[in-house]
């Protein structure tokens, strides 16, 4: 917002007044020009637009990013409200209901019956009959009776076991896939958030101090980062998990331990480039402490980059966790994460494809949304971006 109009003509000078120096004369120019607050020289209303508002405006124009944002909000709501949602327990094992396919309409009883019937027909077919013999019919009738009568007690309520419905099918222990995916999402997203938060926090502190102080400290810190960077991080995480045991907190910690390096480097670079700018000079000249300069003046100036970085880092963490769970090093039963669900489903994926499909789908949609949002944020926050809208 400069004083230059779009066509480059300097605006007319304001009307002259008698020169009379009063203390008012030293008021800011705008006031002395008698221009009302919120208008320009032509008395047109101006909207005060901060950088953030402008970024937000740019973000809003990016449909993919906004779509991603909505999806992420939706996921967050579902995962947070999991305990009050009307879904089955994610850890209740009902072996009779194992490997049921997804169905929106049929109850577990129908599906179990169909499965049994299909199996018996398959046996009959193999024996060269196209009808069921009496023994098999009795088996089916018995099953029908069990389905109609068997009850179980869950949370103090007696319900008919076979009237349960599984919209996304069940796994090898007859646990509801839908609720496992939702609770798995809780874990996966939490790992994404906690991991990003801790890594960004460590990265900011180390990066900014190292960049600001410079000299030997900077040199040693950065060489340390280089060494850490050279180590295969998955290996470090695996060793860490093996040493300290498989616990979800250890998992958080192990992932954060190896992932602050990037943030530290980025923040250090920013801090170095800002170190000699005028506002830092000004702050220093009025005697601000190093701590104040770093955290009040410099770090806020790196936030744009960090936000972008964080939004792209969350999916990365979810992927790491998925990878570890896939290897059997991540979350342990009865809890689940998207990664562990996918890992469990690999065995038997030809026979029970829904066990692989739905957790993968949930994960892919979330990661896509997160990436779109991250890309959108980068474009919106970086004024120099080529993809600027």
């Amino acid at each position: 917002m400069t004083d230059i109009t779009p066509n480059g003509i300097t605006p007319l000078p304001p009307e002259k007044k008698d020169i009379e120096f009063t203390s008012d004369s030293w008021r800011p120019i705008r006031e002395s020009r008698n221009v009302k607050e919120g208008t320009n020289e032509f008395n047109q209303a101006i909207e005060g637009i901060s950088l953030n508002q402008e970024a937000w405006r740019r973000l809003k124009k990016n449909k993919m990013a906004i779509g991603g944002l909505y999806v992420i909000i939706f996921y967050a709501l579902i995962c947070l409200s999991a305990p009050i949602l009307p879904i089955h327990s994610y850890k209740k094992i009902i072996l009779d209901h194992q490997y049921l396919p997804p169905s929106l309409t049929k109850t577990a009883g129908d599906l179990v019956y169909e499965k049994k019937e299909f199996r018996l027909k398959r046996i009959a077919q193999k024996q060269g009959r196209n009808f069921l013999n009496d023994a098999e019919k009795t088996q089916l009738a018995e099953l029908r009776r069990t389905i109609e009568t068997e009850t179980m007690v869950i949370d103090g309520k007696t319900i008919k076991t076979y009237e349960r419905q599984y919209f996304l099918g069940t796994d090898y222990h007859g646990r509801d896939m839908l609720s496992r995916i939702i609770y798995g999402g809780q874990v996966s997203i939490a790992i994404g958030l906690v991991g990003t938060f801790t890594s960004v926090l460590i990265g900011i502190i180390i990066g900014s101090i190292s960049g600001f102080l410079g000299g030997k400290i900077d040199y040693f810190v950065m060489r340390f980062v280089d060494i850490m960077y050279g180590l295969p991080y998955i290996l470090i995480v695996i060793i860490f998990m093996a040493l300290f045991g498989q616990h979800i907190l250890n998992l958080f910690f192990a992932i954060a331990l190896v992932s602050w390096l990037n943030v530290a480097r980025v923040v250090r670079g920013q801090v170095i480039s800002l170190k000699n700018s005028d506002f830092v000079e000004a702050a220093r000249s009025i005697g601000a402490s190093s701590r104040r300069i770093i955290f009040k003046h410099m770090v806020p100036n790196t936030f744009g980059i960090i936000i972008v970085f964080a939004s792209l880092e969350i999916p990365h963490f979810i992927m790491i966790e998925a990878f570890l769970s896939f290897l059997g090093l991540g979350i342990s039963a009865p809890f689940a994460s998207w990664g562990s669900l996918v890992g469990d489903a690999v065995e038997g994926m030809a026979l029970y494809p829904w066990r692989l499909f739905f957790p993968s789908l949930a994960m892919v949609i979330f990661l896509f949304s997160m990436n779109f949002l991250g890309d959108g944020l980068r474009d919106a926050l970086d004024p120099k971006s080529k993809n600027r809208l």
Partner: protein, 520 residues
């Protein structure tokens, strides 16, 4: 172009009968699991290697394909003396595939080579359990001469055992009691197992070995019983991936699939080719007996009684396993002593008696298992069962195989999954590892009554009295102390078309010597 095609078709047609005729002579193709570690009996330790060993070598004793019982091999006959402690074998006059005679000295030298500490044979501990002095030599406590085996003359071989171990004949089938052609090893060193250098004494002799591709063997013309060898060729295909192996069987690219992937099991079970039978092994959970509160038998019993084993075998493992309440699987002449069957109410009562009504105050503990889908499923089920039935908080921990074995041996666990496959057909192989202080006794079970009974049985000759002693030992171990929680007895799984192949039988060792297999 057309002409070329027609010519090609005629050519192909002309070749076809020959191709079939070749296969018809009986080429047995086996999908054999992992690539063999080697052929030298001092270097191998796996089941795929054992299958190859059966084709290429023969020890003193060979296996009856019907029930895996001992049959004369290189030994023609034998006598037992000194209260069952000394075995004297009369060897038949036979030679290696290069014509060099096999004598009693061959056995002495081969066994000493396997036991020598510098050989570092993985299975040296096995002969060391039987032969007097073998363990001392293997653990560097003595020299060669402490091993009590000797060649009385060229065709008489004698060995002394550590006690009257009536199951030793069955154990002699094992490859660790096999022989190696030392005259060839001296000449070629490590390369002796390469085709061309290879010399064996089994029904077949190595024809070709392309690592990661195939290993084939053709009948050995110098084999003493060559008239009873029927196959034209045996081909072992290394197949690390179970699905690939099974699909090869379905596509008729192999004749005998030794594994069936779990997903394909229910389809496979409908096939006529599906062969399954009890296998001499027990899947169990071992409890750390020294740790509080698991040192209380009531706690261990409560844990055992709150698992529904029938559910596990029917719904989770689904290979036709039998739920087990005893450590020793049923075998001829032995009735296992059972632990308590599932009874959730009584389990709760026992836990309350032990001071933990409703699981209150019971420390959280871990189930350790080696990383594997099937073990994980069972562990998750048991975890949930203990949580729901007894109110216990249980977490799962998996470790990679070698780490897991180490943890288990050290006893650094609370509850761990374990499996034991019998090395020979006798209850002793399932019980003697739980003697106080034994290397495999990671659960630190210690009961002097049990120790004495096992020791007593080891000094008894075969017969009902010995079985009774072992049965009593198992009663202390399982019925009274419930030191471990047996879950199920293993089954063997194979796919082979019995209308095409004969001489193949299900047996509890899952041993199927190729010598006896023939094409119908």
């Amino acid at each position: 172009m057309k002409k070329i095609l027609i010519a090609f078709a005629i050519f192909a047609l002309a070749l076809m009968p020959f191709g079939n005729a070749f296969a018809n002579k009986g080429e047995l193709i086996i999908t054999n699991g992992a690539e063999p570690q080697g052929l030298d009996h001092a270097q191998i330790s796996g089941v795929p290697e054992h299958r190859i060993f059966f084709s290429l070598f023969e020890g003193l004793i060979s296996a009856n394909p019907k029930d895996a019982s001992p049959l004369p091999g290189v030994a023609e006959s034998w006598t037992v003396s000194n209260g069952g402690k000394t075995y004297t074998f009369k060897l038949r006059k036979t030679t290696w595939s290069d014509g060099v005679p096999i004598t009693a000295k061959t056995f002495v030298d081969s066994w000493l080579r396997l036991l020598a500490p510098e050989t570092a044979a993985r299975y040296a501990w096995f002969p060391a359990m039987f032969i007097k002095g073998a363990e001392d030599y293997n653990s560097k406590k003595g020299m060669k001469d402490v091993v009590s085996i000797r060649a009385i003359d060229d065709y008489t071989f004698q060995m002394d055992l550590v006690g009257p171990l009536p199951y030793v004949l069955g154990a002699l089938i094992h490859y660790s009691f096999g022989i190696a052609p030392l005259h060839v090893i001296d000449k070629h060193g490590k390369d002796w197992t390469k085709p061309g250098n290879f010399v064996g004494n089994g029904p077949f002799v190595l024809e070709k070995w392309e690592p990661q591709k195939q290993l084939s063997a053709v009948p050995n013309p110098k084999y003493w019983d060559k008239d009873n060898v029927h196959l034209e060729r045996v081909v072992y295909l290394p197949t690390d991936d179970n699905n690939t192996a099974y699909n090869m069987y379905l596509n008729k690219e192999s004749d005998w699939a030794t594994v069936i992937p779990l997903d394909q099991l229910s389809e496979a079970q409908l096939s006529d080719d599906y062969q399954s039978g009890p296998y001499l092994g027990t899947y169990y959970y071992v409890i750390q007996n020294e740790k509080k509160p698991f040192d209380d038998p009531r706690v261990r019993k409560a844990l055992s009684m709150s698992i529904n084993r029938k559910h596990i075998v029917e719904k989770i493992t689904r290979k036709g396993e039998s739920p087990a309440l005893s450590m020793v699987p049923p075998m001829a002449g032995y009735t296992p002593s059972l632990g308590d069957a599932e009874n959730v109410e009584k389990a709760k009562q026992l836990l309350a008696d032990a001071g933990f009504p409703g699981g209150k105050g019971f420390p959280e503990f871990k189930i350790l298992y080696n990383t594997n889908e099937a073990h994980k499923k069972i562990a998750e089920y048991v975890q949930q069962a203990w949580n729901e039935n007894l109110g216990l908080k249980v977490t799962l921990m998996n470790q990679e195989w070698k780490t897991y074995l180490n943890t288990r041996r050290k006893g650094d666990f609370t509850v761990a999954r374990a499996g034991w496959i019998g090395d020979y057909q006798d209850p002793n192989t399932f019980l003697d590892m739980f003697v106080s202080g034994a290397g495999m006794n990671g659960g630190k079970y210690s009961n002097s009554g049990f120790d004495n009974l096992i020791k007593k049985a080891a000094s008894m000759e075969a017969g009902p009295a010995r079985m009774a002693a072992l049965q009593e030992a198992e009663k202390l171990f399982i019925t009274d102390d419930q030191s471990v929680i047996p879950i199920y007895g293993y089954t063997s799984q194979n796919m082979i078309n019995m209308n095409k192949w004969g001489g193949w039988y299900n047996n509890t060792m899952d041993w199927h010597p190729t010598k006896d297999i023939f094409m119908k």
